[in-house]
Subunit: 203 residues, 2 copies
């Protein structure tokens, strides 16, 4: 993995960067070729179509959830509930250093591609699944700190919802306000759930 990356790898990384910056539709194959310093033939030798490049990018995101997203976010954070907010803080940082222009790449693609071919839609869903699963694990670890019978998977989906909705608004307003308001709302909610669980310990 230390040797120079293959042309196919360069192409996928270039596409990942450009899809994040400009979206899928507005990124031309030429753009990818220029960014990766490759030729059209090389791309079409490695990938049948532009959409297959997208699939490779989405696959890379899926594989990267653990090592590229969760690992850095959770460094030095042990508490499972705090890990959730550390993850959200990671997205906040991304918004901050890009002046609220880049958000969640998966969410952007999910809404840009109105009627994506089934394989694309499935990979987007798989990415969401991986994210929700990670949050669900945190919630499960929090265990008795949450009310008995909490549907942790549904709560995980709710947390993804809050992240994506907050990112969407912040990108539109070009301000962190809406994202912060959304995370604050979530924080308040989780605090109340924990307070409730504490009171009802007996029973």
């Amino acid at each position: 993995m230390e040797n120079p990356p293959s042309t196919a790898d360069r192409l996928v990384f270039a596409a990942m960067k450009l899809f994040l910056e400009k979206g899928y539709g507005s990124t031309s194959v030429q753009d990818i070729l220029r960014e990766a310093k490759a030729n059209a033939g090389s791309l079409y030798h490695a990938f049948p179509t532009k959409q297959d490049v997208l699939l490779a990018v989405l696959g890379l995101y899926r594989e990267g959830i653990g090592p590229m997203l969760l690992a850095p976010a959770w460094e030095g954070v042990e508490d499972p509930i705090e890990r959730i907010f550390a993850l959200l803080a990671q997205y906040r940082r991304a918004l901050q250093i890009t002046d609220c222009t880049y958000g969640c790449p998966i969410g952007s693609l999910a809404l840009e591609l109105h009627e994506p071919d089934p394989p694309v839609r499935e990979l987007l869903a798989t990415n969401f699944d991986g994210w929700v699963e990670a949050v669900k694990d945190c919630l499960d670890q929090a265990g008795a700190r949450l009310p008995r019978g909490t549907d942790t998977r549904a709560l995980g989906q709710f947390i993804l919802t809050v992240m994506e909705g907050g990112v969407m608004q912040s990108r539109t307003y070009r301000t962190l306000d809406a994202f912060d308001a959304s995370v604050a709302g979530l924080r308040d909610y989780l605090d109340r759930l924990q307070a409730d669980a504490k009171i009802n310990m007996r029973s």
Copy 2:
């Protein structure tokens, strides 16, 4: 307003329909012309560029929030908190009858247009503002049923976040599950806020 609509109107309505169905980038000027049964020159007589058609569509959405969105959703619903959920139910219905393909037109455009020209971005933000303001009004009417000192505008933003995030996931999964889970989470949260406000009445 009973006379046949002008060509410009037909074009804007056609564009509204197509932008919702296929997004802005994937809708060509030709598509709009075909749908509106008009010619290219007519469009460019009424609008300098395609983007100006988008601006007209966004303006129409903005004007329509009250009469086209809130009025039907709130028919027969008086309770301010229930009005919020009636509004969310309206989006659920839209998802349902389109097999989870159409969601919120503003949200879709907001994420599709990665770096929109300032006037477009501002109109998207104005649309969000109008929505949040309407929800805020409901929350303000709920008054003492919410904890003292509740930031109703921030809570309104949070509710928009939940709607948009839920719609995004449901469109990706092609299932109402994630939307329902998100609304259920919000319902639980608002219930807890109201329970809290009731207990702390005295003070």
